[in-house]
């Protein structure tokens, strides 16, 4: 394999895993609540700002960096609880258009709040020192931070797979996703499951913000590009399917990376071509989900 192909591969996988970290919570909450949360990217952005505020621009070590990302996850999880109580809970039994409008309004509110608190100047966060270097793989220089993001993305996917398919909590969540009325009739506390799912989804957005903030120009709009790709991945993977979203993120990451390397004069076009092909070929996605799977 040529060094250019290796670069495309690693760069694509890293982009894909970055998309997945953002998309995981998005598809989870859609699978369970059937709500497309347009504010998801805004909470990713708030997670990144919280990580910046708590950890500063120069993380001391990879462990403190991970700790700060978990603090961001917890903080956004708390915001998820408040958002659920104030907004999402009221949208459970109404037409989905209301949910789109409400979450769009929430996104604008979050961006306004971020401008108010942190201003509009760009901020920067460096990767932790252990991963702020490059290694040579097959003649190509690969950033260790790239490998770190790939590792975190795969770990989050594995954790979600285990939770959803190997634990009782996951089986209960899938039952609620599949048929909330019947799940409640069997005695499952459906409102509680929905609330926990929202908190988990928001916490994932916050964690993604904490992990992906290095190498980004941190601004109130930092979530926009990530969440756009995340939405594409959720559509290609199958709305509500974590497995499908994971595969779609890898595909989009590789396509984007190949596009940037081999067709740089047509920046970003390939990813839209792929999306268009999937919308025609498989409009319900790779894994048309009956719920969160």
């Amino acid at each position: 394999m040529s060094s250019q192909a290796i670069f495309v591969l690693f760069n694509g996988l890293a982009s894909g895993m970055a998309f997945f970290l953002v998309a995981a919570g998005l598809t989870w909450v859609f699978g369970i609540l059937k709500i497309l949360n347009l504010a998801h990217g805004a909470f990713f952005m708030l997670g990144a700002y919280i990580a910046f505020t708590v950890g500063g621009g120069w993380p001391a070590s990879i462990w403190s960096f991970l700790g700060v990302a978990l603090i961001a996850a917890a903080a956004i999880g708390v915001l998820g609880y408040l958002t659920d109580q104030l907004v999402l809970k009221r949208l459970r039994d109404v037409d989905y258009h209301y949910a789109l409008i409400a979450t769009f309004g929430l996104m604008l509110f979050c961006e306004g709040a971020a401008k108010f608190i942190w201003g509009t100047d760009y901020q920067a966060v460096m990767p932790p020192p252990e991963v702020d270097r490059a290694v040579v793989v097959g003649g190509s220089y690969i950033s260790v931070y790239t490998l770190f993001v790939i590792g975190i993305g795969v770990s989050v996917f594995a954790a979600l797979e285990i939770i959803m398919h190997r634990t009782w909590a996951g089986k209960i969540m899938r039952a609620v996703s599949n048929d909330p009325w019947m799940a409640g009739t069997l005695g499952i506390n459906v409102p509680m499951v929905l609330m926990v799912s929202v908190i988990a989804s928001f916490a994932l957005a916050g964690f993604a913000g904490g992990i992906l903030v290095p190498n980004q120009a941190l601004s109130p709009h930092v979530g926009a590009s990530f969440v756009l790709y995340a939405f594409m991945a959720v559509v290609i993977g199958g709305l509500g399917s974590i497995r499908g979203t994971f595969l779609a993120c890898i595909l989009l990451g590789l396509v984007e990376s190949a596009n940037a390397t081999f067709l740089s004069q047509y920046g970003g076009i390939a990813i839209y071509v792929v999306l268009a092909i999937f919308l025609v070929w498989k409009p319900t996605g790779l894994f048309p989900a009956q719920g969160a799977t």
Partner: protein, 235 residues
């Protein structure tokens, strides 16, 4: 004992059930018969507070359930098998049964899965199969098994024989009667299959359009030809 008192149910502006009063003594088994659209399924959903807007009172063993949410009623000992079965299609037979066990409580310990397979021998060999891969008869057995797994005080069955082959109906009748007798379950069965109702219950209510028009034993039911003709159109 299941007691329903002055129960009225509404879907939107439509008044579906009118002042329903019925009692099923502890451990006894009762049928509710009626034509399509009489409100039979609405009655069961009203008892579980899982659909229509409900006024009136439902109590189990003297404890009123008030306005408790539908997902809390399983913990009060009420298990419902809906007309459309609503098996979780993406998980296995055994996982469906395990989910049913979640409705148990400290004073009603969940039924062991091995016991469920003894009562429902058809399900044992299928335990690793996905719910969506079962036939209609197998799904109905699983729906009843899942409800029974919570060790309910009150079992509500909504037309369990609908669309089933006669041999499965016969087997289901035996199983339901046996389990209700062993666990002393109070059964309220909504049916159009008179044979199944006779096999599994000893008291019958007849639901006209949203109102109870008859209550009595099967012998009394058999004697009242007028009411049978008017509300069931059977000979």
């Amino acid at each position: 004992m299941l007691r329903v008192d002055h129960l009225n149910a509404y879907y939107g502006q439509s008044h579906i059930l009118h002042d329903i009063r019925l009692e099923v003594p502890s451990g006894r088994r009762t049928s509710v018969l009626g034509r399509n659209g009489a409100g039979k399924s609405t009655l069961l959903k009203s008892i579980t507070n899982a659909g229509p807007r409900v006024e009136g009172e439902v109590s189990v063993n003297g404890s009123p359930l008030g306005q408790s949410a539908w997902y809390r009623r399983a913990k009060s000992g009420i298990a419902l098998v809906p007309e459309d079965r609503r098996i979780f299609t993406h998980i296995t037979v055994e996982e469906n049964i395990e989910l049913g066990r979640l409705g148990a409580s400290a004073d009603r310990p969940a039924i062991p899965v091995s016991q469920i397979y003894e009562w429902f021998p058809m399900l044992g060999p299928l335990k690793a199969r996905l719910g969506g891969q079962l036939s209609g008869g197998q799904q109905q057995m699983l729906a009843v098994a899942r409800a029974v797994a919570s060790h309910p005080r009150v079992l509500l069955l909504d037309e369990p024989t609908e669309g089933l082959a006669p041999v499965i109906v016969e087997e289901l009748a035996k199983i339901v009667a046996k389990i209700c007798s062993e666990l002393q379950i109070t059964l309220l069965l909504v049916e159009q299959n008179i044979w199944f109702s006779r096999q599994t219950t000893d008291h019958v209510y007849l639901l006209g359009t949203g109102s109870i028009v008859f209550s009595g034993s099967w012998a009394e039911f058999d004697q009242d030809e007028t009411i049978r003709n008017r509300h069931l159109a059977i000979a």
